[in-house]
C-alpha cells in the first residue's frame, strides 16, 4: 500500500514535462495567473519530503486532488461513478468465481471426455480474447441483431428491473471472461489433486465417482483459485472498465477513457489509487478466506 502511494506521489514528478502541467492535466483551461496560484498551493517550491508529508495528509482526509477538467474534487467524481462499476464488476467476479470453480472441477474430473475438452477449448478462447472485443461481439449480436437488450446506459428509469435489464449483457460478458480464467486454473488444480494419495484413500473408503470430487477434492483444489481471484481482481476490474466503454455505461471505465482523451492526470491518478485500494482489499479478504479453508495456513506451516 505504501508503495502504491509512493508511486502515485512520484509519477507526476518524475515524468517528463512541467510537473504542474502533469499535475493538473494538459488540456485543462487555465490562465497563467491560475497556474502560478496552483503552483504555490501544491507547494512544488517546497522540499520533496515536505511535499510527501502534505500529500499523505491529504490522502488521509480523503482528498485526492482537484480535476481542473471536470471542475470538481477527484474523490467526489470518482465516488459517484464507482458504485455502479463496483455493482457491475463485483457481481461478475463472484459469479465468475462460482461458475469457474464448478465447471473447472467437472472438466478436470474427466478431462478426456469430449464435453470437457470442448469446454476447456472454449474457455481458453474466451480468456485469450480482449474483454472489449468480447463485449463488442455480444453487443453486435444480442443488442443490434436480435434487439433483446438495450445498447447503452445503466438504466432508463431508476428501477431494479430496468437496471437488471441493462446490466445483464455486460455482466454476462465479464462473468464469462472471469469464469473462463478461473476454469482453466481450477481444471489444472483438480487434475493434479486427483492423483493425490488422499483422493485414492477416499476411493478406498468406498466413495464413488463424483462423490470423491465434491466431498474431498473441491475444497483442496479451489485454494489456488481463491488466490487467483484476488490477484486477478485488478485485471478483471480493468476488463470491466473496457466493457463499460463498449456498452457506454456511465461508470469508472468511461470516466477514465474521457480522462485519457482529455489528459486529465489528477483524475487518472486518483482512479489508479482507488483501484489499487480495491485490489489490496480483495487480497486481504482472500487471505482471510484462505486461512478459513486451509488449516495448514492457520498453523503457520506451509
Amino acid at each position: 500500500m505504501c508503495a502504491i502511494i509512493a508511486i502515485n506521489f512520484a509519477l507526476p514528478r518524475l515524468m517528463p514535462g512541467d510537473p504542474v502541467m502533469n499535475l493538473i492535466g494538459e488540456d485543462a483551461m487555465v490562465t497563467p495567473a491560475q497556474l502560478a496560484e496552483i503552483r504555490a498551493k501544491i507547494g512544488l517550491d517546497r522540499p520533496v519530503t515536505v511535499q510527501f508529508v502534505s500529500c499523505l495528509g491529504d490522502l488521509l482526509c480523503g482528498d485526492l486532488g482537484y480535476s481542473f477538467h471536470l471542475h470538481g474534487p477527484v474523490a467526489g467524481i470518482l465516488w459517484s461513478r464507482m458504485s455502479w462499476t463496483l455493482l457491475f464488476a463485483g457481481t461478475a467476479i463472484v459469479l465468475g468465481a462460482l461458475i469457474g470453480i464448478i465447471a473447472g472441477a467437472l472438466s478436470g474430473w474427466k478431462p478426456e471426455t469430449r464435453r470437457s475438452r470442448a469446454v476447456t477449448c472454449a474457455a481458453m478462447a474466451v480468456s485469450c480474447t480482449p474483454p472489449y472485443f468480447l463485449a463488442m461481439l455480444f453487443l453486435a449480436f444480442f443488442a443490434f441483431r436480435l434487439g433483446l437488450f438495450p445498447a447503452k446506459g445503466y438504466y432508463d428509469v431508476l428501477t431494479a428491473g430496468s437496471v437488471v435489464h441493462h446490466l445483464l449483457l455486460p455482466v454476462a460478458v465479464l462473468t464469462l471472461f472471469a469464469a473462463s480464467r478461473n476454469l482453466l486454473v481450477m481444471r489444472g488444480s483438480v487434475v493434479q489433486e486427483k492423483n493425490s494419495h488422499y483422493a485414492l484413500y477416499a476411493r478406498a473408503k468406498g466413495l464413488f465417482g463424483r462423490q470423491i470430487l465434491f466431498r474431498h477434492l473441491l475444497r483442496n483444489a479451489s485454494l489456488p483459485v481463491i488466490t487467483l481471484v484476488a490477484l486477478d481482481f485488478g485485471f478483471i476490474f480493468s476488463g470491466a472498465l473496457f466493457i463499460e466503454i463498449v456498452f457506454s455505461l456511465n461508470g469508472m471505465g468511461t470516466l477514465i477513457y474521457d480522462a485519457i482523451l482529455a489528459r486529465d492526470y489528477p483524475l487518472l491518478q486518483g482512479a489508479f489509487l482507488v483501484i489499487a485500494l480495491l485490489v489490496v482489499t480483495a487480497n486481504i479478504i482472500a487471505d482471510l478466506l484462505y486461512g478459513a479453508l486451509d488449516p495448514r495456513v492457520r498453523e503457520g506451516g506451509v
Partner: protein
Amino acid sequence: MNPVLEIDALSVTFCGKQAVHAVDRVSFSLGGGEILALVGETGCGKSVIAHAVMGLLPGEAQVSGRIVFKGRDLLALSERERSAMRGKDCAIVFQDPSRALNPVHRIGRQIAEPVLIHGAGSREEAHRRAAALLERMGLSPPGNYLPLYPCQSSGGMNQRFLIAASTILDPSLVIADEPTKGLDPGRVREVEDELVRLTGGGRTALLLITHDLAVARRIADRIAVMYAGEIVELAENDAFFDRPSHPYSRGLLQSLPEHGFVPIPGSSPSPVSPPPGCRFQARCRDGKAVCGGQHPDLVSAADGRMVRCWQCR
C-alpha cells in the same frame, strides 16, 4: 473354516511403453483372525497385490486370475459394486498417513466418513462411533483428537487415525500397506499393537505388506516372501525365521542386523523381461543347470510350507 480371502493365479501387467509384469501368478489364502505378512524388496510387486485386491489399480493395469472375497469373485464385479464393499467389508491402510489424510478436513470427519458413505448411521451416530473407536484405541478423551487437522499431529498419531478411519465399520479384511514405514521405533510398536488388536476377535483378517522383516516377525502368523513378482516361499512364522528354505529367504535373513549384514550379491532381475528359469538363479549360491533352464513351481515341502526352488525338494 472358509477363508476370508482367496487369491488364485493373480497376475498384473502394466501396459506402458514396455509391458511390466509386476505380479505373476500369485496364489494364497487368508482366514479370519489371521495375519499374513507379504514381505519382499522394492519393486517385487507386493503393493500391487494390495491395490489389486482393493480394486484401486490405475486404468493401464491388466489383471487376470481370481480374487475371491467371502465367496465372491471381486474381478467379476462392477466398479459400483466394488466401491460399495470398499471401506465396509475390506479396507486398506496406506503408508505415509500425512498424505492419505485430507489436509483440509478434521480428523473426526475423516474417521466418521465411512459410516456416512455406507449409510450405516446418521451424522451424530457416525461421530459417536468415531469417538467410541478412539476411546477403545486408548486415545481418550476423544474430544481432544476429533477436532484436530492432520497437520496438527505427528506421523505416528496420523497412522493410528488412518487405521481408525479404515476400520470403523469392522471390515472382514484389512490390508496394511507398509503401515510402519518412516516411523520412529516407539511409534512402530504402537501401530503394531493396533493391528494385532484388530484381528483379536477372530473375524478380521489382516494382510500386512511390509519390507520390514522385524515387524513381520513380531505380529504375523504366516510369512509370504515375494521375489520379482512371484511368491518364492510361504511358511508359518516360526518355521520361516528358524529354518528359511528358499536361498533368497536365507539371503534376506542373513542381511539383517542380527546376522551381521551379510549381503546377497547382485541385484533383482528386470520386471520387463524376467529370465526364463528360476528368477533368483543368477544370485544363488547353490544354482545348478536345471535352475537356469526351467521355471520352478511353488510346491509343498516338509512342515506344510510352500517353496519355489529346484534345490529344496
